[in-house]
Symmetry: C2
């Protein structure tokens, strides 16, 4: 896979990585709106036009950063789930704890990288339309949440939420498309919980809780457990028990 193809290609990947690193630095310092190609080039000791050899436009640079951010938060979620499953001193964790592990990891990543979080879960850039390459990385967190519900379901550790008749067709469509084998009651609740989870995180990251909520850890933890309950997850019963 990573066969060295020559000095030129190696230099190219190195410069590409350096550009993205510097861009990420400016992103963290000033935000996406003030990300300037010229400033990146200046900091890297090259001239602005040279950057266009690596990224055809500013939006393409942003796309690369968006994909990286989605992958970062996605792998944070996946790793949190993995370590929660492995480091079990008292047996395998229950579905609620697995759910909480993912949510907590996403929140921690968001608080550690607010500008990258804003890039992917904040206001969309006006003319910018997310290219197809972003959808797979973007769905990693959602898939992790689905897997928790799916494992719990197969282990019998799930209680079906109520589902209004109006929402049932949509729930069945969602189940068929994203979580085959999961009851529609669960998938509908899952999608809602997914959005509400990011509502909690966004309000904290974007400062809406400033001067309002102080004990944010505690509020988040309680809310996430409630969301798990809404989805139907039960505190007892390990994923494979």
């Amino acid at each position: 896979m990573t066969t060295i193809r020559g000095a030129r290609e190696r230099a190219r990947t190195e410069v590409t990585a350096a550009i993205k690193d510097e861009a990420r630095r400016q992103l963290a310092a000033e935000g996406a709106a003030k990300l300037s190609l010229r400033a990146v080039a200046r900091e890297l000791g090259m001239v602005s036009s040279a950057l266009y050899r690596y990224f055809p436009s500013r939006d393409d640079l942003l796309t690369a950063l968006i994909v990286d951010a989605f992958n970062a938060v996605g792998s944070a979620a996946e790793q949190a789930l993995a370590t929660a499953d492995s480091a079990g001193p008292a047996g395998p964790p229950g579905p609620v704890d697995r759910w909480t592990a993912i949510c907590t990891a996403v929140r921690a990543w968001a608080l550690a990288h607010p500008h990258e979080y804003a890039l992917i879960y904040g206001s969309p850039v006006p003319g910018y339309i997310a290219p197809q390459v972003t959808v797979a990385p973007a769905s990693r967190v959602g898939l992790a949440l689905i897997s928790v519900a799916s494992d719990a379901h197969h282990a019998g550790g799930i209680a079906l939420p109520t589902l209004s008749p109006e929402l049932r067709p949509e729930a069945e469509r969602l189940a068929a498309q994203f979580a085959p084998g999961l009851p529609p009651e669960v998938t509908a609740a899952l999608v809602a919980a997914w959005a509400q989870l990011f509502g909690l995180i966004s309000f904290e990251v974007f400062g809406q809780f400033n001067e309002v909520v102080e004990a944010r850890d505690e509020l988040f933890t309680q809310s996430v457990r409630r969301l798990a309950h809404e989805v139907g997850l039960l505190a007892t019963a390990g994923p494979t028990a």
Copy 2:
């Protein structure tokens, strides 16, 4: 109050309104990032430097638009609550219906004004710090939600949610600061529901539901009723019954 002070002041308020109108038009067309003072001035037939007589900087124009947006969504919420209370063919509406009226109105406003919504509930502008004048308009939706819970509580139509011991001190602080007379169990759940409500709306407005959720009306309605239930609101019992 609005005594006409002379032609000069009248012209000033007129021009100020025209600038904000044109800026709002550009906001709706292109988004906040592409809002250009020069373009606004061009459209209004004046020179760019003249705009600085009315708004000291681009950020000040944005602040004015932000305040207007908060007031717009706030009054939409308040009016929705008022009409829900007045137009009752079958007696006064229950707390859940009052809650749903507010949430639905906020969502409708957000979908109708996506860029203004992004301005106030999306990623914060990097260097921009919300001045004090924004906090009162910003809290109107929250206050409307609180009033629904408060009315229900005084009418005995509320069921106390569970409250973890870790969150209790914060909940009591919130109750004392924002909703005197409301039980801490309710205020904690209320704040969480507030954030989760905007999570649902933001995911829809910002396109996170694209290619995922189709029946958004139904999902929103069910989720909002669940949130009302989480806060402790009961479907029965009118606000003053």
